[in-house]
């Protein structure tokens, strides 16, 4: 007998059955994802003054856990990412004008690395925590217990986490950008890549009003995706053995979807601002 004996199947499924099963699975997953998102976004508009107050307090706590407590990790990564980029630029083209280095820092750090790296940090730190916590809650009947007391899980559990992650990604991205640019400036001047004034001129020249739109769309979108997917897969747990599996799925899906979303928004930004990119 195998160490992990499997249930004997009466008849192995055929190709058509397999395709049908997978199609139904994909449909159910998409429908479930939509239900989680719509339910969570509609939650604050449900009646109940006290329920609204409780959910809002939980959202503030979530911002603290997801945003404030991530500051040390974000600081370390931002400082070294900023420094590394300016060193690489100096190694590749030592004669690069200071203004161009400033512009490249805006394009690479502010527009791309800051939001995406922040989303990756939040996914690895809080996405796993949310999916695991919700998975454990589900397998310990905590979610059913809350429902039995008339407490909406989407309002009490999902909505505060969604808000917490979105606000955290918005704030942490700004923090990441500031630290990475400061680090790039300091290291750039130190290794002689450029003068401080030239970098600043390039930086000011590169920034366009559309950058604010890009920042808001990217950060709010990435925060929404990470929070939504982490909560959804956490709530899909049916038993304790599924907790690590769903947590892992939540992280993988969050990372893949975040990278694709980031690229899509960048493409949209390119089409909006036009070429050549300033």
């Amino acid at each position: 007998m195998s160490l992990f004996p499997r249930r004997p199947e009466s008849e192995p499924p055929g190709v058509v059955q397999n395709v049908g099963k997978r199609t139904m699975g994909a449909y159910r997953e998409t429908w479930g994802l939509a239900q989680t998102l719509v339910g969570a976004l509609a939650a604050p508009f449900e009646p109940g003054v006290s329920a609204r107050a409780v959910s809002s307090r939980l959202a503030i706590r979530q911002v603290f856990f997801t945003g404030f407590e991530a500051l040390p990790l974000v600081s370390v990564i931002a400082i070294f990412v900023g420094a590394t980029i300016v060193i690489q630029m100096q190694m590749l083209a030592a004669q690069l004008p200071g203004e161009l280095i400033g512009r490249i820092i805006v394009a690479v750090v502010l527009r791309e690395l800051a939001p995406l790296t922040t989303a990756i940090i939040v996914t690895s730190r809080s996405g796993t925590a949310i999916a695991t916590e919700l998975g454990n809650m589900k397998s310990n009947s905590e979610i059913l217990a809350l429902s039995s007391l008339g407490i909406d899980p989407l309002r009490f559990i999902v909505w505060p986490r969604l808000v917490g992650v979105i606000v955290s990604v918005l704030v942490l991205t700004v923090y990441f950008g500031i630290l990475a640019i400061m680090s790039a400036y300091l290291v750039g001047v130190w290794i002689g890549a450029s003068s401080f004034a030239a970098l600043q001129a390039g930086f000011a020249e590169a920034l366009v009003p559309e950058d604010l739109v890009l920042y808001l769309v990217k950060c709010a979108g990435l925060g929404l995706l990470v929070g939504w997917l982490s909560c959804h897969y956490g709530l899909q747990v049916r038993g304790p053995t599924e907790v690590p599996e769903k947590a892992s799925r939540a992280v993988i899906m969050s990372l893949v979807v975040s990278v694709v979303f980031n690229a899509a928004v960048t493409l949209g930004f390119y089409m909006m601002v036009g070429s050549p990119v300033r």
């Binding site: 109940g48 329920a51 809650m137 009947s141 217990a145 809350l146 039995s148 007391l149 008339g150 909406d152």
Partner: protein, 252 residues
């Protein structure tokens, strides 16, 4: 003598008891209910017995409107249930108290916070102040014999019996008009079990409280002395009062 909590507020939106009509509910590899019906009139009590794994807990979840059924209708207090929006029933005056087999306490909240949570969440619906929430939560915990130290502990640091008492306190604090007990006295010491039996008998005699109890403990079935059902192969068979818990395993 322990003071028996009573449902103090008459809920105006409640027009009946618990009703399951033609309900079918299946797990992927087992049928829990097949076209089953169960009626408990307002203020009534029913005990459900059945072999381990027959689906008693699931029946309670369905009866409390926590699970969506494949077919049939479930109403509580005359209102259809909606598992996706559980607060809807509360807004209509249905206050459910559910004592889960394993407690079902929120792991990152201490015992006091667990009991206070539903009160705080529904403060406006119940019509109480924040000060009353704490008073009522503490009073419910004291009623089930929790010490002051235990009130501030997380569930993970409490014994199984104490966790179950906290779950009971959480359910009674909300002054429910619908009460669900899933194996309420299993794993408890004789003194605590007697306290739980006493509380259950108190609710059985309260005309405002409709109660559904799942158990296999003959002592509790005898003590409650009410008619009930045996859950067997997805069917609900009526059981007369008083009588021993039928050996469903043999009948299956």
């Amino acid at each position: 003598m322990t003071e028996i909590p009573r449902s103090s507020r008459r809920a105006h939106g409640v027009r009946g008891g618990i009703s399951l009509r033609g309900v079918t509910f299946r797990y992927p590899r087992s049928d829990v209910l097949v076209n089953a019906s169960l009626e408990i009139e307002k203020g009534g009590t029913t005990v459900v017995t059945g072999a381990n794994g027959s689906g008693k807990s699931t029946l309670l979840y369905i009866g409390a409107g926590l699970l969506a059924v494949e077919r049939g209708a479930v109403t509580i207090g005359g209102h259809p249930t909606d598992p996706v929006h559980p607060s809807e029933l509360t807004r209509r005056g249905v206050r459910r108290g559910f004592v889960f087999q394993e407690g079902g306490l929120v792991a990152n909240m201490n015992a006091l916070a667990n009991v206070a949570l539903p009160l705080r969440y529904h403060m406006d619906l119940i019509g109480i102040t924040l000060a009353t929430v704490e008073k009522r939560a503490k009073s419910a915990l004291e009623r089930v014999g929790l010490t002051n130290n235990e009130m501030y502990e997380l569930p993970a640091y409490l014994s199984f019996g104490v966790r179950k008492r906290v779950a009971l306190a959480r359910a009674i604090a909300i002054e429910p008009n619908f009460f669900y007990f899933d194996d309420p006295d299993v794993g408890l010491d004789p003194k605590t079990a007697a306290l739980v039996h006493e509380i259950l008998c108190g609710y059985r005699d309260d005309p405002e409280v409709t109660m559904l109890v799942a158990t296999n403990r003959e002592i509790l079935v005898d003590r409650l002395g009410v008619p009930g059902y045996v859950l067997l192969g997805g069917r609900l068979l009526e059981r007369k009062v008083p009588g021993p818990v039928e050996s469903t395993r043999n009948r299956a």
